[in-house]
Symmetry: C2
Subunit: 215 residues, 2 copies
Protein backbone atom coordinates (compact mmCIF):
# COMPACT_ATOMS: atom_id res chain seq x y z
CA UNK A 1 0.00 0.00 0.00
CA UNK A 2 1.31 3.42 -0.88
CA UNK A 3 1.91 5.69 2.06
CA UNK A 4 -0.83 8.31 2.03
CA UNK A 5 0.19 11.92 1.51
CA UNK A 6 -0.76 14.80 3.74
CA UNK A 7 -1.83 18.04 2.12
CA UNK A 8 -1.84 21.24 4.16
CA UNK A 9 -4.42 23.80 3.06
CA UNK A 10 -3.01 27.31 3.32
CA UNK A 11 -6.17 29.34 3.70
CA UNK A 12 -4.83 32.61 5.09
CA UNK A 13 -4.82 35.66 2.83
CA UNK A 14 -1.65 37.07 4.39
CA UNK A 15 1.44 36.42 2.27
CA UNK A 16 4.00 36.35 5.09
CA UNK A 17 1.74 34.43 7.50
CA UNK A 18 1.19 31.82 4.79
CA UNK A 19 4.91 31.27 4.32
CA UNK A 20 5.51 31.24 8.06
CA UNK A 21 2.83 28.60 8.60
CA UNK A 22 4.24 26.49 5.77
CA UNK A 23 7.65 26.71 7.44
CA UNK A 24 6.24 25.41 10.74
CA UNK A 25 4.51 22.37 9.30
CA UNK A 26 6.88 21.54 6.42
CA UNK A 27 8.52 18.50 8.07
CA UNK A 28 5.14 16.83 8.56
CA UNK A 29 3.32 17.43 5.27
CA UNK A 30 3.91 16.47 1.63
CA UNK A 31 1.80 18.93 -0.33
CA UNK A 32 1.19 22.61 0.25
CA UNK A 33 -2.18 23.74 -1.04
CA UNK A 34 -2.53 27.39 -1.92
CA UNK A 35 -6.20 27.88 -1.07
CA UNK A 36 -8.58 29.53 -3.53
CA UNK A 37 -9.04 32.79 -1.57
CA UNK A 38 -5.26 32.91 -1.03
CA UNK A 39 -4.39 32.57 -4.72
CA UNK A 40 -6.99 35.13 -5.80
CA UNK A 41 -5.75 37.60 -3.20
CA UNK A 42 -2.00 37.11 -3.66
CA UNK A 43 -1.64 36.02 -7.26
CA UNK A 44 1.05 33.84 -8.81
CA UNK A 45 3.88 35.31 -6.75
CA UNK A 46 2.89 33.21 -3.73
CA UNK A 47 3.26 30.05 -5.83
CA UNK A 48 6.76 31.11 -6.88
CA UNK A 49 7.67 31.95 -3.29
CA UNK A 50 6.48 28.60 -1.93
CA UNK A 51 8.22 26.60 -4.66
CA UNK A 52 11.46 28.49 -4.12
CA UNK A 53 11.34 27.99 -0.36
CA UNK A 54 10.08 24.37 -0.47
CA UNK A 55 11.46 22.77 -3.65
CA UNK A 56 10.97 19.25 -2.29
CA UNK A 57 7.30 19.71 -1.44
CA UNK A 58 4.55 19.48 -4.00
CA UNK A 59 2.61 22.70 -4.53
CA UNK A 60 -1.11 22.42 -5.31
CA UNK A 61 -2.83 25.58 -6.51
CA UNK A 62 -6.53 25.40 -5.76
CA UNK A 63 -7.55 27.40 -8.82
CA UNK A 64 -11.03 25.82 -8.96
CA UNK A 65 -10.98 26.66 -12.64
CA UNK A 66 -14.46 27.06 -14.18
CA UNK A 67 -13.64 28.20 -17.72
CA UNK A 68 -10.72 28.82 -20.08
CA UNK A 69 -8.89 25.84 -18.59
CA UNK A 70 -5.61 25.90 -20.47
CA UNK A 71 -5.26 29.68 -20.46
CA UNK A 72 -5.90 29.98 -16.74
CA UNK A 73 -3.82 27.04 -15.52
CA UNK A 74 -0.75 27.18 -17.78
CA UNK A 75 0.98 30.14 -16.09
CA UNK A 76 0.63 28.46 -12.69
CA UNK A 77 2.32 25.28 -13.86
CA UNK A 78 5.00 27.47 -15.41
CA UNK A 79 5.43 29.21 -12.05
CA UNK A 80 6.04 25.98 -10.15
CA UNK A 81 2.67 24.43 -9.41
CA UNK A 82 2.80 20.62 -9.37
CA UNK A 83 -0.98 20.25 -9.25
CA UNK A 84 -3.80 22.62 -10.25
CA UNK A 85 -7.47 22.03 -9.54
CA UNK A 86 -10.39 22.35 -11.94
CA UNK A 87 -14.06 22.23 -11.00
CA UNK A 88 -16.00 19.13 -12.02
CA UNK A 89 -18.99 21.40 -12.69
CA UNK A 90 -16.96 23.18 -15.39
CA UNK A 91 -17.34 20.36 -17.91
CA UNK A 92 -15.16 18.26 -20.18
CA UNK A 93 -13.74 21.03 -22.38
CA UNK A 94 -12.41 23.03 -19.45
CA UNK A 95 -11.02 19.94 -17.69
CA UNK A 96 -9.28 18.92 -20.93
CA UNK A 97 -7.73 22.37 -21.17
CA UNK A 98 -6.17 22.07 -17.72
CA UNK A 99 -4.94 18.55 -18.55
CA UNK A 100 -3.26 19.99 -21.66
CA UNK A 101 -1.58 22.73 -19.62
CA UNK A 102 -0.39 20.19 -17.06
CA UNK A 103 1.04 17.90 -19.72
CA UNK A 104 3.08 20.74 -21.17
CA UNK A 105 4.78 21.25 -17.80
CA UNK A 106 4.86 17.71 -16.41
CA UNK A 107 2.23 18.60 -13.83
CA UNK A 108 -0.86 16.89 -12.49
CA UNK A 109 -4.54 17.84 -12.46
CA UNK A 110 -7.08 17.40 -9.71
CA UNK A 111 -10.78 17.62 -10.44
CA UNK A 112 -12.80 19.01 -7.55
CA UNK A 113 -16.19 17.29 -7.17
CA UNK A 114 -17.64 20.08 -5.03
CA UNK A 115 -21.34 20.56 -5.86
CA UNK A 116 -21.23 18.03 -8.72
CA UNK A 117 -24.60 16.26 -8.92
CA UNK A 118 -23.49 12.91 -10.34
CA UNK A 119 -20.08 12.53 -8.74
CA UNK A 120 -19.41 9.01 -10.05
CA UNK A 121 -20.10 10.01 -13.66
CA UNK A 122 -17.95 13.12 -13.34
CA UNK A 123 -15.07 11.17 -11.77
CA UNK A 124 -15.18 8.57 -14.54
CA UNK A 125 -15.25 11.21 -17.28
CA UNK A 126 -12.42 13.16 -15.65
CA UNK A 127 -10.29 10.02 -15.39
CA UNK A 128 -10.90 9.32 -19.08
CA UNK A 129 -9.85 12.87 -19.96
CA UNK A 130 -6.64 12.30 -18.07
CA UNK A 131 -6.86 13.90 -14.64
CA UNK A 132 -4.60 12.36 -12.04
CA UNK A 133 -6.46 13.07 -8.83
CA UNK A 134 -10.15 13.04 -7.94
CA UNK A 135 -10.86 15.52 -5.17
CA UNK A 136 -13.73 14.59 -2.89
CA UNK A 137 -14.48 17.90 -1.29
CA UNK A 138 -17.06 19.17 1.15
CA UNK A 139 -16.69 22.94 0.95
CA UNK A 140 -16.50 25.28 3.92
CA UNK A 141 -20.04 26.55 3.37
CA UNK A 142 -21.35 22.96 3.18
CA UNK A 143 -19.35 21.97 6.28
CA UNK A 144 -21.02 24.83 8.12
CA UNK A 145 -24.31 23.14 7.15
CA UNK A 146 -23.13 19.89 8.74
CA UNK A 147 -21.98 17.96 5.67
CA UNK A 148 -18.95 15.65 5.53
CA UNK A 149 -17.05 14.00 2.64
CA UNK A 150 -17.25 10.41 3.89
CA UNK A 151 -20.19 9.12 1.83
CA UNK A 152 -18.82 10.65 -1.36
CA UNK A 153 -15.42 9.08 -0.69
CA UNK A 154 -16.98 5.62 -0.63
CA UNK A 155 -18.81 6.33 -3.92
CA UNK A 156 -15.59 7.33 -5.65
CA UNK A 157 -13.36 4.65 -4.10
CA UNK A 158 -15.84 1.96 -5.17
CA UNK A 159 -15.34 2.96 -8.83
CA UNK A 160 -11.82 1.53 -8.76
CA UNK A 161 -10.47 4.17 -11.15
CA UNK A 162 -6.74 4.37 -11.81
CA UNK A 163 -6.40 7.74 -10.09
CA UNK A 164 -5.44 9.08 -6.70
CA UNK A 165 -8.24 10.18 -4.41
CA UNK A 166 -7.88 13.29 -2.32
CA UNK A 167 -10.30 14.03 0.49
CA UNK A 168 -10.97 17.45 2.00
CA UNK A 169 -13.56 18.79 4.35
CA UNK A 170 -13.06 19.12 8.08
CA UNK A 171 -10.60 16.23 8.49
CA UNK A 172 -8.92 15.94 11.90
CA UNK A 173 -6.35 13.52 13.33
CA UNK A 174 -9.28 11.51 14.75
CA UNK A 175 -10.83 11.01 11.30
CA UNK A 176 -7.76 10.92 9.04
CA UNK A 177 -7.25 7.18 9.48
CA UNK A 178 -10.87 6.47 8.58
CA UNK A 179 -10.41 8.49 5.39
CA UNK A 180 -7.28 6.54 4.45
CA UNK A 181 -8.88 3.20 5.27
CA UNK A 182 -11.76 4.20 2.99
CA UNK A 183 -9.46 4.70 0.01
CA UNK A 184 -7.95 8.18 0.19
CA UNK A 185 -4.37 8.52 -1.04
CA UNK A 186 -4.19 12.21 -0.13
CA UNK A 187 -5.61 13.59 3.12
CA UNK A 188 -6.21 17.33 3.20
CA UNK A 189 -6.13 19.17 6.51
CA UNK A 190 -6.64 22.86 7.02
CA UNK A 191 -8.30 24.17 10.16
CA UNK A 192 -7.25 21.06 12.10
CA UNK A 193 -3.65 22.21 11.62
CA UNK A 194 -3.71 25.98 11.40
CA UNK A 195 -6.36 26.26 14.10
CA UNK A 196 -4.31 24.22 16.57
CA UNK A 197 -2.24 25.72 19.35
CA UNK A 198 0.80 24.08 17.74
CA UNK A 199 0.29 23.62 13.99
CA UNK A 200 3.47 21.52 13.76
CA UNK A 201 2.29 19.18 16.50
CA UNK A 202 -1.17 18.88 14.92
CA UNK A 203 0.38 18.01 11.55
CA UNK A 204 2.67 15.48 13.23
CA UNK A 205 -0.35 13.86 14.90
CA UNK A 206 -2.17 13.52 11.59
CA UNK A 207 0.95 11.98 10.08
CA UNK A 208 1.22 9.51 12.97
CA UNK A 209 -2.46 8.58 12.70
CA UNK A 210 -2.19 7.53 9.07
CA UNK A 211 1.28 5.98 9.00
CA UNK A 212 1.15 2.22 8.78
CA UNK A 213 3.65 -0.06 10.48
CA UNK A 214 6.26 -1.21 8.01
CA UNK A 215 5.87 1.52 5.40
CA UNK B 1 -35.29 53.26 -20.38
CA UNK B 2 -31.99 53.25 -18.56
CA UNK B 3 -28.94 53.64 -20.76
CA UNK B 4 -27.23 50.27 -20.94
CA UNK B 5 -23.74 50.03 -19.51
CA UNK B 6 -20.72 48.65 -21.32
CA UNK B 7 -18.39 46.36 -19.43
CA UNK B 8 -14.89 45.74 -20.77
CA UNK B 9 -13.46 42.32 -19.90
CA UNK B 10 -9.76 42.61 -19.12
CA UNK B 11 -8.58 39.10 -19.91
CA UNK B 12 -4.83 39.59 -20.27
CA UNK B 13 -2.57 38.24 -17.54
CA UNK B 14 -0.05 41.06 -17.93
CA UNK B 15 -0.39 43.74 -15.26
CA UNK B 16 0.91 46.67 -17.28
CA UNK B 17 -0.84 45.62 -20.50
CA UNK B 18 -4.12 45.40 -18.58
CA UNK B 19 -3.78 48.95 -17.29
CA UNK B 20 -2.70 50.23 -20.68
CA UNK B 21 -5.70 48.65 -22.39
CA UNK B 22 -8.03 50.08 -19.74
CA UNK B 23 -6.52 53.51 -20.40
CA UNK B 24 -7.24 53.24 -24.13
CA UNK B 25 -10.89 52.29 -23.79
CA UNK B 26 -11.79 54.19 -20.60
CA UNK B 27 -13.78 56.98 -22.31
CA UNK B 28 -16.08 54.45 -23.97
CA UNK B 29 -16.84 51.94 -21.22
CA UNK B 30 -18.52 52.08 -17.80
CA UNK B 31 -17.28 48.98 -16.02
CA UNK B 32 -13.85 47.39 -16.03
CA UNK B 33 -14.00 43.66 -15.46
CA UNK B 34 -10.91 42.03 -14.01
CA UNK B 35 -11.18 38.60 -15.66
CA UNK B 36 -10.88 35.42 -13.63
CA UNK B 37 -7.47 34.35 -14.99
CA UNK B 38 -6.24 37.94 -14.51
CA UNK B 39 -7.28 38.15 -10.85
CA UNK B 40 -5.84 34.73 -10.02
CA UNK B 41 -2.55 35.63 -11.69
CA UNK B 42 -2.17 39.17 -10.38
CA UNK B 43 -4.02 39.17 -7.09
CA UNK B 44 -5.75 42.05 -5.36
CA UNK B 45 -3.13 44.64 -6.30
CA UNK B 46 -4.57 44.95 -9.80
CA UNK B 47 -7.96 45.86 -8.31
CA UNK B 48 -6.34 48.58 -6.23
CA UNK B 49 -4.39 49.87 -9.24
CA UNK B 50 -7.47 50.04 -11.46
CA UNK B 51 -9.59 51.76 -8.80
CA UNK B 52 -6.87 54.31 -8.13
CA UNK B 53 -6.40 55.07 -11.82
CA UNK B 54 -10.11 54.99 -12.72
CA UNK B 55 -12.06 56.16 -9.66
CA UNK B 56 -15.13 57.05 -11.74
CA UNK B 57 -15.42 53.64 -13.40
CA UNK B 58 -16.98 50.68 -11.73
CA UNK B 59 -14.62 47.76 -11.11
CA UNK B 60 -16.04 44.25 -11.39
CA UNK B 61 -13.84 41.43 -10.09
CA UNK B 62 -14.78 38.18 -11.77
CA UNK B 63 -13.95 36.02 -8.76
CA UNK B 64 -16.36 33.25 -9.83
CA UNK B 65 -16.52 32.32 -6.15
CA UNK B 66 -17.44 28.67 -5.52
CA UNK B 67 -17.07 28.41 -1.73
CA UNK B 68 -16.34 30.48 1.36
CA UNK B 69 -18.28 33.40 -0.13
CA UNK B 70 -17.85 36.08 2.50
CA UNK B 71 -14.23 35.23 3.29
CA UNK B 72 -13.17 35.26 -0.34
CA UNK B 73 -15.06 38.34 -1.52
CA UNK B 74 -14.73 40.72 1.44
CA UNK B 75 -11.08 41.74 0.83
CA UNK B 76 -11.86 42.59 -2.79
CA UNK B 77 -14.70 44.92 -1.87
CA UNK B 78 -12.36 46.45 0.72
CA UNK B 79 -9.77 46.95 -2.04
CA UNK B 80 -12.13 48.88 -4.29
CA UNK B 81 -14.26 46.35 -6.15
CA UNK B 82 -17.76 47.66 -6.86
CA UNK B 83 -19.04 44.28 -8.03
CA UNK B 84 -17.82 40.73 -7.35
CA UNK B 85 -19.13 37.63 -9.09
CA UNK B 86 -20.21 34.35 -7.50
CA UNK B 87 -21.02 31.15 -9.35
CA UNK B 88 -24.66 30.11 -9.47
CA UNK B 89 -23.50 26.50 -9.18
CA UNK B 90 -22.01 27.32 -5.76
CA UNK B 91 -25.37 27.35 -4.02
CA UNK B 92 -27.37 29.60 -1.70
CA UNK B 93 -24.98 29.65 1.27
CA UNK B 94 -22.02 30.83 -0.78
CA UNK B 95 -24.09 33.40 -2.67
CA UNK B 96 -25.44 34.74 0.64
CA UNK B 97 -21.87 35.06 1.93
CA UNK B 98 -20.86 37.27 -0.99
CA UNK B 99 -24.04 39.33 -0.56
CA UNK B 100 -23.07 39.87 3.09
CA UNK B 101 -19.55 40.97 2.12
CA UNK B 102 -20.96 43.36 -0.49
CA UNK B 103 -23.42 44.89 1.96
CA UNK B 104 -20.60 45.63 4.40
CA UNK B 105 -18.83 47.70 1.75
CA UNK B 106 -21.75 49.16 -0.23
CA UNK B 107 -20.94 46.91 -3.18
CA UNK B 108 -22.98 44.82 -5.56
CA UNK B 109 -23.03 41.09 -6.37
CA UNK B 110 -23.39 39.40 -9.72
CA UNK B 111 -24.34 35.75 -9.92
CA UNK B 112 -22.81 33.98 -12.93
CA UNK B 113 -25.19 31.44 -14.47
CA UNK B 114 -22.39 29.62 -16.34
CA UNK B 115 -23.13 25.87 -16.43
CA UNK B 116 -26.20 26.21 -14.18
CA UNK B 117 -28.78 23.60 -15.21
CA UNK B 118 -31.98 25.39 -14.20
CA UNK B 119 -31.03 28.99 -14.90
CA UNK B 120 -34.47 30.44 -14.17
CA UNK B 121 -34.66 28.81 -10.73
CA UNK B 122 -31.12 29.90 -9.89
CA UNK B 123 -31.79 33.49 -11.00
CA UNK B 124 -34.95 33.67 -8.91
CA UNK B 125 -33.23 32.27 -5.83
CA UNK B 126 -30.25 34.60 -6.27
CA UNK B 127 -32.56 37.62 -6.57
CA UNK B 128 -34.31 36.57 -3.36
CA UNK B 129 -30.97 36.26 -1.57
CA UNK B 130 -30.18 39.81 -2.65
CA UNK B 131 -27.87 39.75 -5.65
CA UNK B 132 -28.05 42.84 -7.83
CA UNK B 133 -27.03 41.49 -11.21
CA UNK B 134 -27.79 38.24 -13.02
CA UNK B 135 -24.96 37.34 -15.35
CA UNK B 136 -25.96 35.37 -18.43
CA UNK B 137 -22.67 33.96 -19.50
CA UNK B 138 -21.51 31.63 -22.24
CA UNK B 139 -17.96 30.77 -21.24
CA UNK B 140 -14.97 30.78 -23.56
CA UNK B 141 -14.84 26.98 -23.69
CA UNK B 142 -18.56 26.84 -24.55
CA UNK B 143 -18.18 29.59 -27.16
CA UNK B 144 -15.49 27.48 -28.78
CA UNK B 145 -18.15 24.76 -29.03
CA UNK B 146 -20.48 27.16 -30.85
CA UNK B 147 -22.77 28.25 -28.02
CA UNK B 148 -24.17 31.78 -27.54
CA UNK B 149 -25.96 33.52 -24.63
CA UNK B 150 -29.05 34.67 -26.55
CA UNK B 151 -31.55 31.94 -25.60
CA UNK B 152 -30.57 32.14 -21.92
CA UNK B 153 -30.99 35.92 -22.00
CA UNK B 154 -34.60 35.55 -23.10
CA UNK B 155 -35.25 33.00 -20.33
CA UNK B 156 -33.94 35.36 -17.67
CA UNK B 157 -35.45 38.57 -19.07
CA UNK B 158 -38.87 36.89 -19.21
CA UNK B 159 -38.75 36.34 -15.44
CA UNK B 160 -39.17 40.09 -14.86
CA UNK B 161 -36.96 40.07 -11.75
CA UNK B 162 -35.99 43.36 -10.13
CA UNK B 163 -32.31 42.95 -11.02
CA UNK B 164 -29.94 44.08 -13.71
CA UNK B 165 -29.06 41.58 -16.41
CA UNK B 166 -25.52 41.35 -17.71
CA UNK B 167 -24.74 39.39 -20.85
CA UNK B 168 -21.35 38.01 -21.82
CA UNK B 169 -20.15 35.61 -24.45
CA UNK B 170 -18.76 36.69 -27.80
CA UNK B 171 -20.71 39.96 -28.08
CA UNK B 172 -19.67 42.27 -30.94
CA UNK B 173 -20.89 45.68 -32.10
CA UNK B 174 -23.16 43.87 -34.59
CA UNK B 175 -24.93 41.90 -31.82
CA UNK B 176 -24.78 44.35 -28.90
CA UNK B 177 -28.02 46.09 -29.89
CA UNK B 178 -29.86 42.77 -30.11
CA UNK B 179 -28.69 41.95 -26.58
CA UNK B 180 -29.91 45.28 -25.24
CA UNK B 181 -33.24 45.00 -27.06
CA UNK B 182 -33.63 41.56 -25.46
CA UNK B 183 -33.35 42.98 -21.95
CA UNK B 184 -29.67 43.35 -21.06
CA UNK B 185 -28.73 46.34 -18.92
CA UNK B 186 -25.01 45.53 -19.02
CA UNK B 187 -23.26 44.41 -22.20
CA UNK B 188 -19.91 42.70 -21.73
CA UNK B 189 -17.32 42.84 -24.50
CA UNK B 190 -13.90 41.33 -24.42
CA UNK B 191 -12.28 39.98 -27.56
CA UNK B 192 -14.42 42.29 -29.73
CA UNK B 193 -12.55 45.20 -28.12
CA UNK B 194 -9.10 43.92 -27.23
CA UNK B 195 -8.83 41.88 -30.41
CA UNK B 196 -9.57 44.91 -32.61
CA UNK B 197 -6.92 46.91 -34.42
CA UNK B 198 -8.08 49.92 -32.43
CA UNK B 199 -9.62 48.88 -29.10
CA UNK B 200 -10.79 52.44 -28.45
CA UNK B 201 -12.58 52.59 -31.79
CA UNK B 202 -14.15 49.16 -31.24
CA UNK B 203 -15.43 50.23 -27.82
CA UNK B 204 -16.78 53.47 -29.31
CA UNK B 205 -18.63 51.48 -31.98
CA UNK B 206 -20.26 49.25 -29.37
CA UNK B 207 -21.29 52.34 -27.42
CA UNK B 208 -22.77 53.90 -30.55
CA UNK B 209 -24.65 50.73 -31.44
CA UNK B 210 -26.51 50.62 -28.11
CA UNK B 211 -27.08 54.31 -27.46
CA UNK B 212 -30.67 55.30 -28.04
CA UNK B 213 -31.71 58.66 -29.43
CA UNK B 214 -32.76 60.99 -26.66
CA UNK B 215 -31.03 59.25 -23.76
Amino acid sequence: MTTPLIQMALDSLDFDATLALAEQVAPHVDIFEVGTPCIKFNGVKIVKALKERFPDHKILVDLKTMDAGEYEAAPFYAAGADICTVLGVSGAATIAGVVKAAAAHGGEVQVDLINVQDKAACAKEAAEIGVHIIGVHTGLDAQAAGQTPFADLKTIADLGLNVKISVAGGIKSETARQVVDSGASIVVAGAAIYGAESPAEAAREIRASITFAGV
